[in-house]
Amino acid sequence: MKWQIINKAQEYKIKVNKNEAIGVVMPINKGGQYRVIVDLLGQGARALILGIIIGKGKDMIDLTTETRHVVGNTHAETMIHGVNQDESMTEIRGMIRIDKKADQVTDFLTEKVLLLSDRARATAVPSLEIKAHEVRASHAATVAKLDEEQIYYLMSRGLSRQQSEELMVQGFLQTVVNKIEDDKIRNQICLMLKQ
């Protein structure tokens, strides 16, 4: 799988040809409009799109992803996890488009956001447009705060509240990072996250 890191607020158009596999990682920690459009153009094309969003201050982060299956036997997965601190706001728009006759397609879209402060906000819009028949497509979105029970558990093991929260946020974001198979890229992202 060929990997690509995207962290600039602009539009990216990515084409995946026959039997190609492309991985996209988006570590986003600044406000702005990010757009990633992935066209799966040839049979056997695969795409993995990963997003790690950290919103803080008064950041407004607007992320649009789209996977478009032009032909059959193409596969994609999009996974975006975000955390919002302070008064930051995230809007995630994900679209799965499956054209007519693009059969044997699978595509999954997940958008999860944790709101860490009282004034943080998030909007999740996971959409599907499906014109083919033999497909499996699904999406899921959740927006919530940290689970109090889990925090309680960690605190009962001797961690402070802050430590517990940090650990949970780290684990939440790490889920996405762990999907990166390329060691070099994964380490690079881990370093970015630590900062």
Partner: protein, 462 residues
């Protein structure tokens, strides 16, 4: 492949001369004429005229279904059948009576309904309500009667949940509305059997604009249901209703729709409920007919602990586009909403789920769960999902799930290996798919629903 129209048993048309109808097209004069016919007071005419201005000012929505086929100038906006609203079935004009007979209204009323309204084109032609309920103070009138007989009560709630300017079609309804029901359930009264309204469009190129207002006072309970049919004409007709519901503290209201318009109807309906403290609003919505439907029954959860539930089934057959969904607005703490939507697309039909969940700041501990599942039965059909989830409070929880799939080959193989024919197997899988929603319907509807789905599925290619 069998055509839907051949299964449509309500496609007949009666030769009935209307008592009065306005000229084709929409204008201020038409609105004034309708108001004059109804001998309305000034406030209603003012309201209508203001709404007409809004209608003209608003553009057609640039999202959702294709509405370019609506010829606003070709429609008849008001057509009154002969006679008055009758309380006795025997007094209803013979031809209209025959229509409702064929739709099964009198039988159903005898068997299991608390009250009935039958609307024929623009006006309610028949109405009844059980004596016990009348004595308890339950009011079940046609909207026109209510505006005349209890203007103060109507004025207090009219347009408070759906203002004329909410959208283009609520504005149109506000301008030319006619018919519909007014329901008031007093404090603590529980109406256990459903109140039922039958809507029938008989004229061609016609617009039906009924207006319904339901008020469930504190601690009361009720169930209102409606069914819709129309004759098989080639010209399109328009149905643009507005339904406003007010559910007060601790009250519970259920609103069931079985929409089975003929495939020439543009069904553009605005439905919304305001729900107070610990109140519950349940929409159960089945969409089988119409050419185009755009409908998003919603609830404003305004009081602490208010609950909203939306259960919907949509079956889009050849030539149909059903753009349906729900809106849940959480304004208060501990509010809960559940939206379950099931759609089936076949023979080139198109289903779209379009929904909104908005949890405002201050709605502490609000919870919302949205599930939309779609089945696509063949390669000609289409399914879309467009949900918006806007969360502005960090103590809120939102879950959203959607899947799109076809009928599994393994499931089919299993059922067929047990001796079921292919058609029977497919219909069994589809019935299982909609089961979670159907079981929330009153029994009589559930039976009808399963039958309708089977009918529509008959002869379909998988």
């Amino acid at each position: 492949m069998k055509k839907f129209s051949s299964d449509y048993k309500y496609g007949f048309h009666d030769q009935v001369t209307p008592g009065f109808k306005v000229k084709k097209g929409l204008s201020e004069a038409v609105v004034r004429q309708i108001s004059k016919q109804k001998q309305e007071q000034g406030w209603m005419l003012d309201y209508r005229l203001r709404a007409l201005e809004i209608f003209w000012a608003k553009p057609l929505p640039n999202w959702g279904a294709d509405l370019s086929g609506i010829k606003f100038d070709n429609l008849i906006y008001y057509s009154r059948p002969q006679g008055q609203q009758e309380k006795k079935w025997s007094q209803v004009p013979a031809k209209i009576k025959k229509t409702f007979d064929r739709l099964g209204l009198p039988q159903a009323e005898r068997k299991w309904l608390a009250g009935v309204k039958g609307q024929y084109d623009s006006e309610v032609v028949y109405g009844s309500l059980k004596k016990e309920l009348k004595q308890k103070g339950v009011i079940f009138l046609s909207m026109d009667e209510a505006v005349k007989e209890m203007p103060e009560l109507v004025k207090q709630y009219w347009g408070t949940v759906i203002p004329a300017g909410d959208n283009k079609f609520s504005a149109l309804n506000s301008a030319v509305w006619s018919g519909g029901s007014f329901v008031y359930i007093p404090k603590g009264v529980k109406v256990t059997e459903p109140l039922q309204a039958y809507f029938r469009i008989n004229a061609a190129s016609f617009g039906q604009f009924e207006r319904t207002l339901i008020i469930a006072d504190e601690g009361s309970e009720g169930h209102y249901s409606e069914g819709c049919t129309a004759p098989a004409f080639s010209e399109s007709s328009l149905h643009a209703a507005v339904v406003e519901i007010i559910v007060k503290k601790d009250a519970r209201m259920q609103y069931t729709t079985v929409q089975n318009w003929y495939k020439n109807i543009y069904n553009l309906v605005t439905k919304r409920a305001w729900v107070g403290e610990k109140g519950t609003m349940i929409w159960t919505d089945a969409n089988l007919g119409s050419q185009v439907t755009m409908k998003y029954p919603g609830f404003i959860l305004a009081g602490r602990g208010a609950r909203g539930e939306m259960l919907s089934i949509a079956l889009a057959n050849k030539g149909q586009h059903l753009d349906v969904g729900s809106k849940a607005i959480h304004l208060a703490p501990d509010t809960k909403s559940v939206i379950i939507s099931k759609s089936i697309s076949l023979n080139g039909g198109r289903n779209s789920y379009r929904g909104l969940v908005q949890i405002n700041r201050g709605a502490r501990g609000a919870k919302s769960k949205v599930i939309c599942d779609a089945l696509i039965l063949d390669k000609y059909s289409r399914s879309d999902t467009y949900p918006t989830n806007r969360i502005n409070d960090n103590s809120a929880t939102l879950e959203h799930e959607a899947t799109v799939s076809k009928v599994g080959e393994e499931q089919m193989f299993y059922l067929m290996s047990r001796g079921l024919k292919e058609e029977a197997a497919r219909s069994m899988i589809v019935n299982g798919f909609v089961e979670p929603v159907v079981k929330k319907l009153p029994l009589e509807y559930a039976v009808e629903m399963n039958r309708l789905i089977e009918l529509s599925m008959e002869g379909s290619v998988g």
